[in-house]
């Protein structure tokens, strides 16, 4: 079968359905063919970090100019003297100090009072909505990143286009567009300790699947073997971070290092996704030091190392943190915080319109709160995601990425430089 991508895209797939062929299958079969020989290294890249467990946005991006913040948090507020001031009203948690440099060179922005229009305080539901991109609608089968990949298949010429770091594909990447879950870059491919034996087995399976005809089994296995080859050439075992970038110990540092590797290997990565957990601070959350501080220090160091490692390459990379909701304004009886509503996110990278706290700040006064207790949501997370997809990755059909919602440029925060 020799369907070129161009022909398929032109015909829109509809004509082919009448032949009784599944358009999805054809699309994927078609994209398996005719790959560009040179992979552009100037392709925009998005890295998403999901802070699972609901990060306390108020202690991450501290509204130190609000008296209510200190009144409500006698034990866990970050003292103004410790806050790394950003604009006189907001400041970074001291553990995020390594990021101040990025704020100063305008490649780091914070987005405050962002969240879901759905009021749920269940981690599970809220994470689900943030990943499906359809708050309030549970039955959405795929994730918004996957839907972006589905509608914008022009770029689907590499198995590494959308990669989740972890043992399983997360909800945000679930769906019909091909995406990879990689637990460990160095162990990707067939697991045979000896290289010669591994190459031989790889070739054997390659041959087996070459005979599988034209179906999805054949095209997907082709993609898989290509991926193995590409990684082999990139040789991830030999990787050394550039510019003395020092990733912190632990899973997050390792993951960001591998994402940097994959970006520099020029294998066509467009979207990377990773989790970092430990944000559900109900008990003894701590202030300038303590539980949350430990997690934020790891995050700050890892992001700073990633930025340093990528150097010039950051000019077309955006890193976005996200979390399912924020936490209560008032500290609880256990010196912690409970499930709240709006939270804060960070965006960094060359394309980011940095040095600013974006979004309308609703204030912490009683009458300004959501349900009398939480930071109100003034930015629907879909507006930020949509802006990044449109203005950074160049998405054109946002309606299909966020069904039931019409993203509008009028609501974009200006997070991406134009």
């Amino acid at each position: 079968m020799t369907i070129s991508r161009r022909i398929f895209v032109k015909s829109g797939g509809l004509a082919l359905v009448s032949l009784g062929l599944d358009p999805l299958f054809l699309a994927r079969a078609a994209f398996a063919l005719d790959r560009p020989a040179v992979r552009p290294s100037d392709r925009p890249i998005l890295v998403c970090l999901f802070q699972r467990g609901a990060v306390d946005g108020l202690n991450m991006i501290v509204p130190h100019g609000e008296p209510a913040y200190y009144q409500e948090r006698p034990r866990i507020a970050i003292p103004a003297s410790d806050v790394v001031d950003l604009d006189g009203h907001f400041g970074l948690h001291p553990s995020l100090a390594p990021l101040k440099e990025l704020w100063d060179n305008k490649s780091l922005a914070a987005i405050h009072a962002i969240g879901s229009p759905d009021a749920t305080r269940s981690h599970f539901d809220a994470q689900d909505y943030m990943e499906s991109g359809t708050p309030g609608v549970k039955s959405t089968a795929d994730g918004w990143v996957n839907r972006y990949c589905q509608h914008d298949r022009e770029h689907a010429d590499t198995p590494f286009r959308a990669v989740a770091f972890g043992p399983q594909l997360p909800r945000i990447l679930a769906g019909s567009a091909p995406s990879l879950a990689i637990d460990d870059l160095q162990a990707f491919g067939l697991r045979v300790p000896q290289e010669a034996a591994r190459d031989r087995l790889t070739r054997a399976f390659e041959e087996l699947y070459d005979g599988a005809g034209t179906g999805l089994l054949a095209s997907s296995s082709r993609e898989g073997f290509d991926a193995v080859q590409m990684l082999k050439r990139a040789d991830p075992t030999q990787y050394r971070p550039a510019a003395g970038a020092d990733y912190p110990q632990g899973r997050l540092g390792k993951t960001l290092l591998q994402i940097a590797q994959l970006i520099k290997a020029d294998v066509g990565l467009e979207i990377a996704f990773a989790d970092c957990s430990g944000w559900d601070t109900h008990v003894n959350q701590g202030a300038s030091d303590g539980q949350l501080s430990t997690r934020l220090r790891e995050l700050g160091l890892a992001l700073a190392a990633f930025n340093r490692d990528l150097g010039e390459r950051m000019s077309n990379v955006v890193v976005l943190t996200m979390s399912e909701f924020g936490r209560t304004i008032r500290e609880n009886g256990n010196s912690g915080t409970d499930h709240g509503h709006a939270t804060a996110m960070l965006a960094l990278g060359g394309p980011v319109n940095g040095g600013r706290v974006l979004g309308r700040w609703p204030g912490l006064g009683l009458e300004q709160r959501f349900e009398g207790r939480d930071v109100a949501v003034t930015t629907d997370f879909r507006d930020l995601f949509a802006e990044i997809l449109a203005r950074h990755l160049g998405a054109t059909d946002l309606g299909t990425v966020f069904p039931g919602y019409t993203p509008s440029a009028a609501r974009f925060l200006g997070a991406i430089r134009r």
Binding site: D125, S139, E207, L216, D226, V283
Partner: protein
């Protein structure tokens, strides 16, 4: 000499039979679809005794003896704990976690804590649930019932990782799904609606009539509501929406947002007892919306819990429901895009019997679409089907460690861990991607090492013949055969040759199909 399919089918169904398929091909096809694949020699033995006879026996699962499985089930202590017991363990585990968090925070440690005592116990019990599912799928003689348990567990999906569902899921599988897997759809639907696991998963447990107030102190409710920190304030539409969209009518079932709200009002008050009182189903009169609801041409007037029961019985036998569920069954048993013929046959059987699942299945298994040559080998196995069919083909007795469940999870289908209420997909497009295929090849090489059904044979050609017979029911393609033989040419150690050949056969394209 096996009888041609023609004769078998003509005898039993008087329908036009298919081309040049042998009785063994038909038996292998039936074993792939109604069961988790053929065990060594099973395709031949089913063909000898008659494939339709075997299908009838599978439909009549209660009369199939299953003593080996019964023996193995005794290893799984989770079956000895009822819901109340697990609820108690869950509460101890939560208490333990809070205590440890408090201590760790006091010492300024990070939150990664080693599990001990109740928490570890609960986690181990949770792991048993997945492993038990694999043991049953592999060993049960009532294969069709196991296949249907998996089907309904996905149709009525509950995510084990959501709060209280960690301890509610075992009784959901054991008491709600398993006994009704081959019963009547209406009974199954009502049982899932009343199951604490579903009530928690889709939030109906917190759905109350707006303005309703519990007749007991708020503190008591707070104590009982694990993880619920605020009082429910009104109706929650989640269950109502998924009931219509996923469980019954289907997304194109012709209902409106107003219908969803009316259905949600009907189910207000369907809730769960606090964990210290057993976490069973309870109808809370005070939370029920007593107003009159009009939906689907029916009127519900202050009739308490019976409103919901009446609505479920109505929905279970709507044409849209019959069509939606029948199409899903046909996607499972016939083809990813099932032909209309088998769906219509299933719907007709449903109408005739008010949703007797056996009769509906029989209609599918006797439809020409099921036996059409293009249906044979047309479906790609799900990760669960791939692993379990490998175990069966290689004659591997699954152990009770979490190893195999972890393997199924690595291949993308962690059992009972699908967060979306859609359950896991049935179609090729969702399971076949480059990473998943590489993972299957790795799994195949691992499983090949334990293969008990293939002896070491010096003659490579003979070895590949036996593998074709035992693992692939004689359906190995000429290409696969050539590639495997080429790979063996320079391997002199017969044990190595065996592992290589079995691994390639299991990891190759032929075995991914069913």
């Amino acid at each position: 000499m096996p009888l041609p399919l023609l004769a078998t089918l003509c005898l039993l169904t008087s329908q036009a039979p298919a081309g040049s398929l042998t009785a063994r091909d038909s038996a292998f096809h039936a074993l792939n679809r109604l069961a988790y694949g053929a065990r060594p020699g099973e395709a031949d033995s089913v063909a000898r005794s008659g494939v339709m006879k075997w299908i009838e026996r599978q439909l009549d699962a209660d009369h199939v003896s299953d003593s080996h499985l019964a023996e193995r089930e005794r290893d799984f202590t989770i079956l000895e704990h009822d819901r109340a017991d697990l609820a108690g363990r869950y509460r101890s585990a939560i208490r333990e976690r809070r205590l440890m968090q408090r201590e760790a925070a006091a010492h300024g440690d990070s939150m990664r804590l080693p599990a001990a005592g109740p928490m570890r116990e609960l986690r181990e019990l949770g792991g048993q649930l997945q492993q038990l599912a694999i043991v049953r799928a592999t060993l049960s003689e009532r294969q069709l019932r196991e296949v249907m348990v998996d089907f309904w567990s996905n149709h009525f999906n509950v995510f084990v990782g959501k709060g209280a569902d960690r301890f509610l899921l075992p009784s959901y599988i054991e008491e709600t799904i398993r006994p009704r897997a081959l019963g009547r759809f209406e009974d199954l639907l009502i049982a899932t609606a009343q199951s604490p696991a579903m009530l928690f998963y889709l939030d109906n447990a917190q759905s109350v009539a707006p303005g309703s107030v519990p007749p007991f102190p708020l503190a008591a409710l707070r104590r009982g509501g694990q993880g619920v920190r605020t009082l429910p304030k009104g109706i929650n539409e989640n269950y109502a929406r998924e009931l219509l969209e996923l469980h019954t009518l289907g997304v194109d079932g012709g209902y409106t947002q107003q219908d969803i709200i009316a259905v949600a009002r009907i189910f207000t008050g369907w809730s769960i007892q606090p964990p210290d009182r057993g976490a069973g189903f309870v109808f809370r009169d005070w939370a029920h919306d007593r107003g009159t609801k009009h939906v689907f041409g029916l009127t519900f007037r202050d009739d308490g819990k019976d409103e919901g029961i009446r609505l479920l019985a109505f929905l279970a036998n709507q044409h849209a429901t019959m069509h939606h569920v029948s199409a899903k069954l046909c996607a499972r048993f016939v083809a990813d895009e099932p032909p209309d013929g088998c769906i219509d046959a299933a719907v007709a059987a449903w109408q005739k019997t008010r949703g007797d699942i056996r009769t509906v299945l029989r209609a599918i298994f006797t439809s020409p679409d099921f036996w059409a040559p293009q249906a044979f080998g047309s479906k790609v196995k799900t990760p669960l089907e791939f692993v379990v069919s490998s175990l069966r083909a290689t004659g591997t007795e699954p152990d009770d460690t979490p190893r195999l469940a972890q393997l199924v999870a690595r291949l993308g289908e962690p059992l009972f861990q699908q967060p979306a209420p859609t359950g896991y997909a049935e179609t090729e497009a969702h399971w076949v991607n480059s990473g998943a295929l590489l993972a299957r090849m790795n799994a195949a090489m691992m499983l090949a090492k334990d293969c008990a059904s293939i002896p070491t044979i010096d003659d490579h050609s003979r070895l590949v013949d036996v593998i074709d017979e035992q693992l692939l029911g004689g359906t190995m393609s000429a290409h696969t055969r050539t590639v495997i033989l080429n790979q063996l040419t320079d391997i002199t150690d017969p044990e190595q040759a065996r592992i290589m050949a079995v691994g390639l056969a299991l990891g190759g394209p032929d075995f991914q199909r069913q």
